[in-house]
Symmetry: C2
Amino acid sequence: MILAIDIGGTHYKLALVSAEGQIHRLHQGSTDRTGGAAWMIPRLLQEGRTLLTQAPASVRACGIGFGGPVDFAGQRILSSTHVGGWNEICLPRIIEAELGLRAVVENDANAGGLGELVFGVGQGCRHLVYLTISTGIGGGIIIDGQVYRGANGQAGELGHLPILPEGPECDCGNQGCLEALCSGKSIGRRAEEAVVRQPARGAELRRLAGAGPLSAEVVFKAARQGDELARELVEETCLYLGMGLATLINILAPEMIVLGGGVSRAGETLLAPLRQMANRFAMPVHRSLVRLEQARHPDQAVLLGAVALARELV
Amino acid sequence: MILAIDIGGTHYKLALVSAEGQIHRLHQGSTDRTGGAAWMIPRLLQEGRTLLTQAPASVRACGIGFGGPVDFAGQRILSSTHVGGWNEICLPRIIEAELGLRAVVENDANAGGLGELVFGVGQGCRHLVYLTISTGIGGGIIIDGQVYRGANGQAGELGHLPILPEGPECDCGNQGCLEALCSGKSIGRRAEEAVVRQPARGAELRRLAGAGPLSAEVVFKAARQGDELARELVEETCLYLGMGLATLINILAPEMIVLGGGVSRAGETLLAPLRQMANRFAMPVHRSLVRLEQARHPDQAVLLGAVALARELV
């Protein structure tokens, strides 16, 4: 049995998971962004202790997926993408001291890729790319069955592939990154801009959104219903994402690209046109090779990847 | 001592090279494109035999870099990028039967990357990307000191990164690939188009080209002399190349990117603005990490990579 932890900017999760990836107990909560690490760490320890008392078998190790850059070799969290107070925190050491469990921490997108490789749609692949599209876009690259980290441990920044040099500003400080065009937040922003430009054509999108903001979810729903402006927005999304995927395909030639995160729930409304677009830009030699698949565990991939890492400790 | 062979679309080379990368004898000839493999193979064998009689020490193996897709696992040439008759040719087997040497074949850009890693500017690197820019653009990716080949052996198609979705047609059948914008041929074509559009501003470029066509070499020479149109062409080249390099950096986070091929001879006229542009599009975390360097052996990197592979055979 493994204690698995997923620390994101919006939610955090703790779970008891078997070494075979069976989730026995799951606790989920909302991240207190203003509270930062000082709020989160005591909470993790307290809820971890409670979970450990409920374990049906002995818990051997702890795996952590973290939403921000991680120095894997040094087992240090470098910073959080969304939350303060996480600079240079050796969370595994704290877990070991407080809970008596050997622990390992990995960036959440890397963990997600590993989760889908070991327990999900990517089983049997040697080389796999995981792209998680939610508020932002994260990436995990698996080479020869292992997370690829590059020279500085920070490889796989797939949300920041340059797509449009004069495109919209990105949170990273650049312009026209994949994330600035195709994250859930960016799809919503592009929809909002389109509806402002073309209010008549945008009426159905506005109606579906109700009192709320235009979200990626609304755009895909409207596209499924045949709304023309929504279809154009999906097409544009697939153009940019397709360029990004073809880039990954031409460079890495993986067996599979797995899409995870909230936006991947659009399923074939997104995947079918995206396969076409990725094939349009990929080299002919790669076209029949690479499978583009939806994550099998869109909510649990990070926890499962953390399990895959932690079970190596024992 | 190793017999090293480099088979390109314009030239071919045979050399006697020590296992430490010292070139003792080198023979170079022009490739007969219409003659194809039927012309090349007997010539390689004949010139190989001659070289072997001149070897100062016993020749232990043969390494071959080939200009086209190679099935490394099957040790088969799949096809040539430029020349006919090379479909499904097991050249190492022919060399073994005819010259009595164990032999290994690799794609030339992969061999070039390995050559710079083992004997060139990339010594000491674990992760390195080699980009060779001449008539076309080829790439070789080194991960953990080994050529990375991907699931189908054809990873590293760096000339075909999608840059401008509505850009000029590429030989691969797509539009707006890096090669269609920044290869030597493409830089020349863009210069030609610019001079036709702006004949007054293009007068100096035209003068420097003389009776010949506008080449990348002429563009870089004019830029060094301060010609404005040439400078704009170099800037545009660096924008596209910089996007491609930043893409590689964000995905792979290598220690070094090495530029080889004829266009890399432009040296700092190309490298200085290119470093700036790659840094503009790369994630901040990677900016200080990745060194962008000119190949140390622009003409011999393929031969030297072939040596690095062949010396593993003995």
